[in-house]
């Protein structure tokens, strides 16, 4: 059933099917006969058989219908905003973060903390970066303000751990270098709009 059909409330203009229900008995004998008939009907076993058959399918036939969480996880919407990911540049593998500190500034629960330094390549290097997930409210401002799409929200939604620190370090959020080819471009909060190219005005070049 499509959404349009579901939302159509004009009763009478649609093809309703009437269920063929038996008449409710009116006499005492009739009611007695109904009770006895339902009690001794073998339909009970029909139901039990279905359960038994599915058990067999699941255990032996390999057709399990439940998800074995936490060993198995269901795919979630790409727009889901959970634990942050730090992305890398696809070409060089360097992390995208330039250490501008805007996420630290915009964070309304003050859970991002970073330190930067001047590195030997005359660039600004992030030397410390932590997010305190005990305080993070997953508002998404950090991902929105990031000029480099370096910090984004990922699909990892478990915020329970023995230690908060175990998943709040920069290295833990960073795409592992060996899984760079699996890194997904983020199209959620703060991502470039699909028509971004049309909106860019080129800088005049004299040469």
């Amino acid at each position: 059933m499509s959404l349009e059909q579901f939302k159509n409330r004009n009763v009478g203009t649609q093809n309703y099917v009437k269920l063929d229900l038996a008449h409710t008995p009116t006499t005492g004998w009739g009611q007695f006969k109904q009770v006895v008939g339902r009690t001794f009907k073998p339909e009970l076993f029909v139901g039990l058989w279905v359960t038994f058959r599915e058990m067999g399918n699941a255990l032996v036939g390999g057709k399990m219908h439940t998800t074995q969480y936490p060993f198995e996880k269901l795919p979630i919407s790409p727009r889901y905003r959970a634990i942050h990911d730090m992305l890398r540049l696809m070409e060089s593998g360097n992390y995208r973060c330039i250490g501008c500190g805007l996420c630290e500034k915009i964070c309304i629960s003050n859970c991002i903390s970073m330190e930067t330094k001047y590195d030997e390549n005359q660039r600004k290097e992030v030397s410390e970066y932590t997010i305190n997930f005990g305080r993070c409210i997953f508002c998404g401002y950090c991902a929105e303000v990031c000029p480099e799409l370096a910090i984004v929200h990922g699909p990892r939604y478990e915020t329970a751990s023995e230690q908060r620190a175990s998943f709040s370090l920069f290295e833990d959020m960073l795409t592992p270098i060996d899984k760079l080819n699996l890194q997904q471009e983020y199209d959620g909060f703060g991502a470039i709009s699909p028509n971004a190219d049309e909106n860019i005005k080129p800088t005049p070049l004299a040469y």
């Binding site: 501008c100 500190g101 330094k117 290097e125 005049p204």
Partner: protein
């Protein structure tokens, strides 16, 4: 001719700016008047503390009846002028300027240190420049590292503020403009000198072109908490703003529009007595030591309130108070006051920068008090002031401002000062007894003994002939001189009778405050308590004493500056230990906090009964300094008798001069990792030959019973036979060195 400082009659004028009637003084520029009246005129290159630069043209205004726009920063207002600061055309003009500034400006605000406090960012927003309309080919311009600062030409907007500061204020003259149209850059023509004063040039950079190498990329401006305070190092009372994050000082800034720091204040901020806890045992033994001690000996690294606590302890328990340098200064000033009738010298730094002639005597001013050198430099650059530098050792760093170097023999200061007084007071009206003394001077003999030629004095006299507004800068060589008191009297004549603007550079640290507050003694008696000095029991804020004390960044208090200003220190870093006030409370005084004493500082010395919390610490938009208060002038009794000039002792043999390098003032600055750490005995080639030393020799010698072991280095910029001996690295012994700054020493070579 020389009798008094010429007063320029101020003519009042009235101008109308944007419909507002403003009264002003003739000679003020339109921009100055507008700022005084809180009317906004945008500028990019204007820097209040220098002459107008006029490179940005943002400050253009319309004046009724004048064709075309006028640069308000350099145009003096005329009476009755009607001025418009903003209209459609002016806005368009300014917007175009901003568009040009933004041509190829790297879009790296995200990582730029200046982001958040950048003039270019602000004005780009203000004038709504959202894209780049013009273009040009960008030359390759790599980042250059100039020691304490680094320069990114790609970010530079060529406002020239840094060049002006380097030339007009700090006087290192290292930065120059390299002209070349769009490829113009700033260049450092004295890279080998590695001047720390370049930090002052970086402080005025409106964009991220000149940044502090050490601070670079370590924090965004908006993450830092700014705590205004006072620099404790040189005694100039610099307004420093400590910028703090997570319990660490990241950098020091200042109100660079109006004031300038010396390198110790700019970089010597990483000093604190850290990780101190209340050590009950040490505290009790300190109390015991106080019970048995007869003398408290302390260095200049003591705030006004601490000095006052020590004075109170002296009053209640009869300790002797010893602080050698401050005592010498105190005696000098007392003697000086008997001629002028005032307890302190009458000069000010502002007046010094406006003088037309400056005489410096008895101080290696560039190293002793860089802030005074800045002001002499300003006088030289703004008013082409004659600068006579009188000292036994020539200073190559002053070559560009000194017009006459007069060399005298070490130890002959009294004679030199007498000759100076005689030369400069020739045509002044003097009381008969003083005139008699000057007339009786045996000029020929004196000039021979001092080795100051009569023709040199004549030349000095002649060069001052057409000038007015004189300044005299006096330094520490004279305070510890055996004849200091007579020298003081002779110099005071110049202030009293020739109208000189005299500055007697007080000892670094809080020497000024101590000399005003404490009733100091000359001789040590019994066992001693040392405060920042080695004593039988030592209290130390350097971290190596028997009981820890807070450093200047860890306590509240006030300091008294060279400009006679009492300014406040604020707490910047944590401190967990005991303070002097705790000891004082256990010894019978009663005050909850150290700063409760601020209002009690002696009124009869010119201090004011103002609570610590009521002391302000800022500059207003006009550049007026609202920092603490200035000591009141105090009248003292006169005694115009002057003694005859004493026989001079000759300084033959190996002579060294106690003198710290420019960036160091005390053992406190020696703790800083940002400043040079190594201390060498520096001498000329001539000194090396005379004392049979080679570059790199390790030698031993003793001054004031403090033993030195130093490496000798030849400094090719030095001349003469006197070597420079730094003291800053001597820790708790530094303050024991108190005698006359030139000393004869026996050098003993170590090893070989």
């Amino acid at each position: 001719m020389m009798s008094s400082i010429r007063d320029i009659e101020a003519k009042a004028i009235n101008v109308t700016i944007d419909g507002k009637s403003c009264s002003a003084i003739y000679g003020q520029t339109i921009l100055e008047i507008a700022r005084e009246n809180e009317i906004y005129i945008p500028t990019m290159c204007y820097l209040t503390k220098t002459l107008p630069i006029a490179s940005c043209r943002m400050c253009i205004v319309d004046v009724e009846g004048v064709d075309g726009a006028i640069l308000s920063c350099q145009e003096k207002a005329t009476d009755g002028a009607v001025i418009t600061t903003n209209n459609q055309e002016l806005f368009k003009e300014r917007q175009s300027i901003m568009k040009l500034y933004n041509v190829n400006h790297p879009l790296e605000c995200g990582v730029c240190d200046k982001s958040g406090e950048c003039d270019l960012q602000n004005k780009t927003m203000e004038f709504g420049v959202s894209g780049q309309n013009f273009t040009t080919k960008e030359p390759h311009r790599p980042v250059q590292n100039w020691g304490v600062i680094s320069y990114d030409p790609a970010l530079c907007i060529m406002c020239e503020k840094c060049v002006r500061v380097s030339t007009e204020i700090t006087g290192d003259e290292a930065l120059k403009v390299k002209f070349g149209g769009y490829s113009s850059t700033i260049e450092n023509v004295k890279q080998d000198k590695n001047y720390k004063t370049l930090g002052e040039a970086a402080a005025v950079c409106p964009v991220g072109a000149l940044v502090d190498s050490r601070f670079k990329y370590s924090s965004n401006a908006w993450e830092l908490t700014q705590i205004p305070s006072t620099c404790p190092h040189c005694g100039g009372g610099h307004d420093v703003i400590y910028e703090v994050k997570k319990g660490e000082i990241y950098r020091v800034s200042n109100t660079a529009e109006f004031s300038t720091l010396c390198s110790a204040s700019r970089y010597g901020f990483d000093i604190a007595n850290r990780d101190v806890v209340k050590d009950e045992i040490a505290f009790q033994s300190a109390l015991k030591a106080f019970e048995s001690a007869k003398t408290i000996i302390f260095s200049n690294e003591v705030s006004n309130e601490e000095a006052y606590i020590l004075q109170k302890l002296k009053e209640s328990r009869g300790y002797k108070l010893i602080s050698h340098e401050a005592r010498a200064f105190q005696k000098f000033m007392n003697s000086y006051g008997t001629i002028t009738g005032k307890s302190l010298y009458g000069g000010s730094l502002k007046e010094l920068s406006n003088s037309r002639a400056v005489i410096v005597v008895g101080t290696r001013v560039n190293d002793d008090a860089p802030i005074v050198k800045y002001h002499i430099n300003m006088a030289s650059k703004w008013h082409r002031a004659r600068v006579a530098y009188m000292h036994p050792i020539e200073d190559s760093e002053l070559k560009n401002i000194v017009t006459q170097f007069i060399k005298y023999e070490a130890g002959s200061e009294e004679g030199v000062v007498a000759l100076l007084a005689d030369t400069l007071l020739k045509e002044c009206e003097l009381p008969q007894n003083i005139r008699d003394i000057l007339d009786e001077l045996d000029i020929g003999n004196l000039s021979a003994e001092c080795n100051v030629g009569e023709e040199e004095l004549e030349a000095l006299e002649k060069s001052l002939l057409k000038k007015s507004r004189f300044s005299l800068v006096v330094g520490a060589d004279l305070y510890a001189h055996p004849r200091a008191e007579n020298i003081a009297k002779l110099l005071a004549l110049l202030e009293k009778y020739a109208g000189f603007n005299v500055i007697c550079i007080p000892p670094a640290g809080n020497g000024m405050g101590i000399s005003q507050i404490c009733d100091l003694d000359d001789d040590i008696e019994g066992s001693t308590i040392g405060y920042n000095v080695k004593g039988d029991f030592t209290l130390s804020s350097f971290g190596d004493g028997d009981l820890d004390m807070p450093s200047f960044t860890q306590q509240e208090g006030t300091l008294t500056s060279l400009d006679k200003r009492v300014t406040s220190l604020n707490v910047v870093l944590d401190y967990g230990g005991y303070v002097l006030n705790d000891l004082a409370n256990s010894l019978g005084l009663n005050s909850e906090y150290t700063i409760d004493y601020t209002k009690d500082l002696p009124l009869f010395k010119g201090f004011k009964a103002i609570e610590f919390d009521s002391l302000t610490n800022y500059f207003d938009a006009k550049g007026n300094e609202h920092r603490g208060y200035i000591l009141d002038e105090v009248e003292v009794g006169l005694d115009t008798s002057i003694e005859d000039i004493a026989e001079m002792s000759a300084f033959d043999g190996t002579v060294v001069y106690n003198c710290n390098p420019q960036e160091h003032f005390s053992p406190l600055t020696a703790l800083s990792d940002n400043l040079i750490k190594d201390a060498y005995l520096l001498g000329s080639q001539q000194f090396a030959t005379a004392s049979k030393l080679k570059d790199g020799d390790t030698i031993r010698y003793t001054i004031d019973s403090v033993k030195f072991e130093r490496v000798f280095k030849i400094d090719t910029s030095l001349k003469g036979t006197i070597a420079l001996n730094p003291l800053f690295d001597m820790g708790l012994s530094t303050a024991l060195l108190s005698s006359y700054r030139f000393s004869k020493v026996d050098l003993e070579r170590v090893g070989s």
